[in-house]
């Protein structure tokens, strides 16, 4: 897997700072699980956080808090080493998404056929203003031109599509500015599965409504 489309620096910074919505964090974490370059960037951005914490003026901590902390050391279970994936990038789903979905993965979801060739499943994630979903696109399907209003980030889990910005394949992310318009065409031969987080759709604002508008004339 060669990754050609990466996360925006602003997204990396927000992820390291911990200010992204849960749904968006999952897409970001999924990309960095497969992308060593963005992983190194996140580490760099986290260092900035460490530096900022070092520079803070301290708040007086109560004796009670200190005592409680020391009292719980004896019973705290030691943390074991994290399990390293045997073949990062070769598993079907990136670790953060797999962990969220459980062993049945994408099959556990409630897929809905929207129009011929396009199926969508919501992934419930509570908290935040963004929603998470996966979209399955049949080989060769062309989507209507659409823009991206509000925060939206897409990761390709399988297959590939091409648009004005290039070819997006497994592992790539489309972390686009709001004002970009594009017209993706899915490659022949393989179904394309995308993981998408977007700001909770206002009326007709969701990517799906926007995509479906030309079909239904709404």
């Amino acid at each position: 897997m060669t990754i050609n489309h990466h996360l925006d620096d602003a997204t990396i910074l927000a992820y390291a700072a911990g200010t992204l919505d849960p749904a968006i964090s999952i897409v970001v974490a999924s990309h960095i699980a497969w992308c060593p370059e963005c992983r190194a960037e996140v580490r760099r951005a986290e260092r900035l956080g460490g530096e900022l914490v070092d520079g803070l003026d301290g708040e007086l901590v109560s004796e009670n808090c200190r005592e409680r902390t020391f009292a719980s050391l004896g019973t705290a279970a030691l943390h074991r080493l994290p399990v390293k994936t045997a073949h990062p990038g070769r598993e079907e789903l990136p670790y953060p998404l797999q962990r969220l979905l459980g062993p049945r993965g994408l099959e556990a979801l409630n897929w809905k056929k929207k129009v011929p060739g396009i199926s969508i499943a919501d992934i419930p994630v509570s908290g935040g203003k963004s929603v998470l979903k996966v979209m399955s696109l049949a080989p060769g399907i062309a989507m209507p031109v659409h823009g991206h209003r509000g925060e939206e980030i897409t990761m390709i889990l399988k297959g590939a599509y091409s648009d004005e910005m290039g070819r997006f394949a497994r592992g790539d992310v489309a972390d686009l500015d709001e004002d970009v318009e594009h017209k993706p065409v899915v490659e022949q031969g393989e179904t394309c599965i995308c993981l998408i987080a977007e700001e909770a759709p206002a009326r007709f604002k969701s990517i799906f409504a926007r995509l479906l508008q030309p079909y239904f004339g709404i």
């Binding site: 749904a23 914490v53 808090c65 902390t69 020391f70 719980s72 050391l73 419930p124 994630v125």
Partner: protein, 193 residues
Amino acid sequence: MVENVGSSPSSGEREHLEHLLKQVAAKRDRECFAALFDYFAPRIKSFMMRKGVSAELAEDLVQETMVAVWTKAALYSAEKGTVSTWIFTIARNRRIDRARRESSAHFTDIDDFDAASDDPASDERLNRAQEDGYVARALAQIPAEQREILILSYVEDVPQSEIAARLKMPLGTVKSRMRLAYKRLKKLLEKVN
């Protein structure tokens, strides 16, 4: 009890913090843990309170973070960053997980699936730069409006969309300022190396 700390530690102090953490990992040394507690607890409390958390909850999070430092000490490796960076990530994850208590989406830390750094050489370089306080100095060198956005994001935990609303500017401008600030920082760091 430590109060009113604030200036970044010197490289000697950073080495000392690393030494303390290694003693905790290797020997379960409570005195070394106490010294770490005295350095970090007030900063973590302040970090949490700057995010709008009550003093009481901030102390709960101090406790959770410091207990995690105790249980995870053996997982720390210097090539991932300084002790301060490592503890910042623990504190950040605790706060997020607390906020998402009912949620299925726990914050995925890189360490969950990445035991060691991918690029030790360049990481080492940045780490050294940080140890010597270059990051702090580089931060002081970027334009105030870019620094403001970084601090709002990291320290005060304000989402980018809200920074945009607060500063009455489009989200795109906030993002491009963040990008600019980050680029400048990286360039300043490359220069000193």
